[in-house]
């Protein structure tokens, strides 16, 4: 096996992992706070991609700048979805939550199909066409920037949760909603904000990945499944887990494409999932046992 090919696979996997991490961070935040699995997560990401596409094609905004607007847009979507729908089923059994979120996913997917048509799209950015060469190994500048921004955003989210009063309320509501309520936290508002932030993360991830990956309305489900997989590997509700899990899954898939038939690369990430469920059911960074 060619050493350059292995190095290339490692690097490509690591850089692409930034996107995986960012989408999983959004999902794990929502789950960690509300114990609701957002199955519309991938479809929200697809909407983030389309927002970036509209900004780029209509207003000429590069997605590497436009991602801020996409995150803002998706924050509003997440906030409204939480207030109007999710808030009603926060205490309902999981199967009801899943049905509702799958319903939201269907609506988002088909709304995108009506609005944008079925053709796969891709956003053009000057950055994605440029590459750096380290000897035989190439670095995709678009992916490098995406990776850097994903790390920054995850760091910012961590600081927000750890250092700001609102972030502390979010953590309080996650740890013990009743206790938070008793000491005067507006738990409903905190839930809506947390859902909004989760959606904003995935909106930013969508915008940042839109110059790298083609997207179409039907792409949401596989993104939801990928995020869910990562979050379970990293540990449900753990930010660090989601971040490391994203990198791990991406590198594992990339190595799978190097050493196995590339069509089997997903086998690697799902085998990883099974191994985690068997030997460490709470995930790599999960607290306590499941």
């Amino acid at each position: 096996m060619d050493a350059a090919l292995i190095g290339q696979g490692l690097l490509s996997g690591l850089l692409f992992g930034g996107v995986y991490s960012l989408m999983a961070v959004g999902l794990t935040l929502i789950f960690g706070v509300m114990r609701v699995v957002n199955f519309a997560h991938g479809d929200m990401m697809v909407w983030g991609m389309y927002l970036a596409w509209m900004l780029a094609t209509r207003l000429g905004v590069d997605p590497y700048a436009g991602f801020v607007l996409c995150a803002g847009g998706l924050f509003v979507v997440g906030f409204v979805v939480q207030r109007t729908l999710v808030d009603r089923i926060v205490d309902a059994p999981h199967e009801m939550q899943i049905l509702l979120m799958l319903g939201v996913a269907l609506v988002l997917e088909n709304a995108a199909l009506v609005a944008f048509g079925p053709d796969p799209q891709r956003v053009r950015s000057a950055l994605t066409a440029s590459t750096l060469w380290l000897g035989p190994i190439f670095v995709d500048v678009g992916r490098l920037v995406t990776f850097g921004l994903a790390v920054l955003l995850t760091g910012a989210l961590y600081l927000f949760l750890a250092r700001t009063p609102l972030g502390r309320s979010v953590r309080a509501a996650a740890d013990n909603p009743y206790g938070a309520l008793v000491i005067g936290t507006d738990v409903r508002r905190v839930y809506a904000v947390a859902f909004g932030i989760g959606a904003a993360c995935v909106g930013a991830a969508g915008a940042l990945v839109s110059p790298i990956l083609p997207f179409q309305p039907a792409g949401g489900l596989s993104l939801s499944v990928a995020s869910f997989n990562i979050v379970i590997i990293g540990g449900m509700g753990s930010l660090l887990g989601a971040f490391v899990g994203g990198l791990l899954v991406s590198v594992a898939e990339s190595m799978g494409a190097v050493f196995l038939a590339p069509s089997m690369k997903e086998l690697v990430s799902f085998s990883l999932l099974i191994a985690i469920l068997l030997f460490r059911p709470a995930g790599l960074f999960g607290k306590g046992s499941a």
Binding site: D2, D119, R122, T131, L213, G219, E253, S254, P262
Partner: protein, 427 residues
């Protein structure tokens, strides 16, 4: 809570009941009126118009609808008293299980024939239903060989009595043979002899069948070039950078991709980014490399890309007229492989009904078997006929190349609009 019990509020259940009653009245009432007006033949047209393969699925549906409208406008099926074709539309969502239930649903709704779908996986799932329910089924696109071959085998071995499944589209095997022939012709015309071809394909039923057909044809023809590496990817793919690195490591002269629209959008920019130094990209029969939407998104990445695909015969004035109307109704899309073959499919069905003078499934099947239809719009090697497997051996492809951001036929010579640019200019 009190609001929910307020009688003035429109309750969800009340709303659903009312809406259901209205919908029921509409659904039950109107067909009765229509039935009284003229005899109709109900044709279930099933394509994946949502889901990952929605783009080609919608093209297929529009092609079939336009053909049915043209047939009805010309007086319907004359041997059945001018019966009009009534299309019952189904959506596979590009999922085989849904394809199966959609076939069941439309047959229960009275479909007397079925036409469709684009995806081979969907078609394979529909076959058991039509065989069991005895409904003639014309496959207008799905190319994987086993779809018809398995039924033909079951009939030959006496496990089933009648074959209800026919296909007017080249099979994976035929695609492979034509592609190897075109590869050789193009290399010879250019006076070059590439040695190393890397085959990359979407690992679904269609991609597997296409790649097997191509490799088998290559083995049989023993040309002067080798397939040095075969790289499948899961479809839809999330990322193809490592796959492309692997292709590059095989030092290819030619990349032969079998893509879907989304994977083509990943693959081609990645080949450019990683500076894979090749003479050209030549698809042995691949969607995603020529559609107007793909050209708009991929732009220069598609320039000089070649593909061996079924293509409308634009030397036929009728094809040009249909293509103009298609462009108007589809928002500017090209009348191409998918819309074209679905259009032809409906014409073939109408021809069979005309000769059958009946909608009895076995009589219709007999008429389909005796088809010798010359009114088709696609490039082909002769009239539409069906062999013992139920495939049309005259279905053919043309080698097209994207030149000046337009698909142009470059081979076979008699259909060529321009000479191929090969090897492609260095960037």
């Amino acid at each position: 809570m009190s609001e929910r019990n307020d009688p003035k509020t429109l309750h969800r259940r009340t709303f659903l009941r009312t809406a259901g009653a209205v919908a029921g009245t509409v659904a039950l009432g109107f067909p009765a009126v229509l039935r009284a007006q003229a005899p109709t033949v109900k044709i279930g047209v099933i394509h994946g118009v949502t889901g990952p393969l929605a783009e080609p699925g919608q093209a297929c549906r529009l092609g079939a609808q336009m053909a049915a409208e043209a047939i009805n406008a010309a007086g319907g099926i004359k041997s059945l008293g001018g019966a009009k074709l009534e299309l019952l539309l189904g959506d596979t969502q590009s999922k085989p299980d849904v394809a199966r239930t959609e076939a069941e649903r439309l047959i229960n709704a009275g479909a007397q024939l079925l036409q469709g779908p684009f995806s081979s996986g969907d078609a394979a799932a529909m076959v058991p239903v039509v065989q069991q329910r005895r409904v003639p089924f014309l496959i207008d696109i799905a190319a994987a060989d086993p779809i018809t071959a398995n039924v033909a085998k079951a009939v030959r071995e006496g496990q089933q009595k009648v074959q209800y499944v026919y296909r007017n589209f080249p099979t994976g095997t035929m695609f492979g043979q034509l592609a190897v022939r075109y590869f050789n012709a193009i290399f010879e015309e250019a006076g070059v002899s590439p040695k190393r071809v890397v085959l990359m394909y979407a690992n679904d039923l269609f991609g597997q069948s296409q790649s097997r057909g191509f490799q088998a044809a290559h083995k049989a023809a023993k040309p002067g070039w080798d397939i040095v590496e075969v790289i499948p990817w899961p479809e839809p793919p999330s990322d193809l950078s490592t796959e492309v690195s692997r292709a590059k490591a095989a030092r290819p002269d030619i990349i032969a991709p079998i893509t879907r629209p989304a994977s083509a959008q990943l693959l081609l920019p990645e080949l450019a980014k990683q500076r894979v130094d090749i003479m050209g990209v030549v698809g042995p029969g691949s969607p995603g490399l020529y559609e107007a939407g793909q050209i708009a998104v991929l732009k220069e990445h598609l320039e000089y890309v070649m593909d061996s695909v079924p293509w409308p015969n634009f030397k036929n004035p009728r094809t040009r007229a249909v293509a103009d109307e298609y462009a108007k109704r589809s928002g500017g899309k090209t009348f191409d492989t998918n819309s074209g073959y679905s259009y032809d499919g409906m014409l073939v069905i109408a021809d069979a009904l005309e000769r059958a003078k009946s909608t009895d499934p076995d009589v219709v099947v007999d008429a389909i078997k005796k088809t010798r239809f010359t009114g088709h719009l696609m490039v082909s090697a002769g009239p539409v006929v069906f062999n013992e497997i139920g495939d049309n051996p005259n279905a053919s492809t043309a080698l097209i190349q994207i030149l000046g951001q337009k698909p142009v036929v470059v081979w076979p010579k008699e259909a060529a609009q321009q000479k191929a640019v090969f090897p492609r200019p260095k960037r």
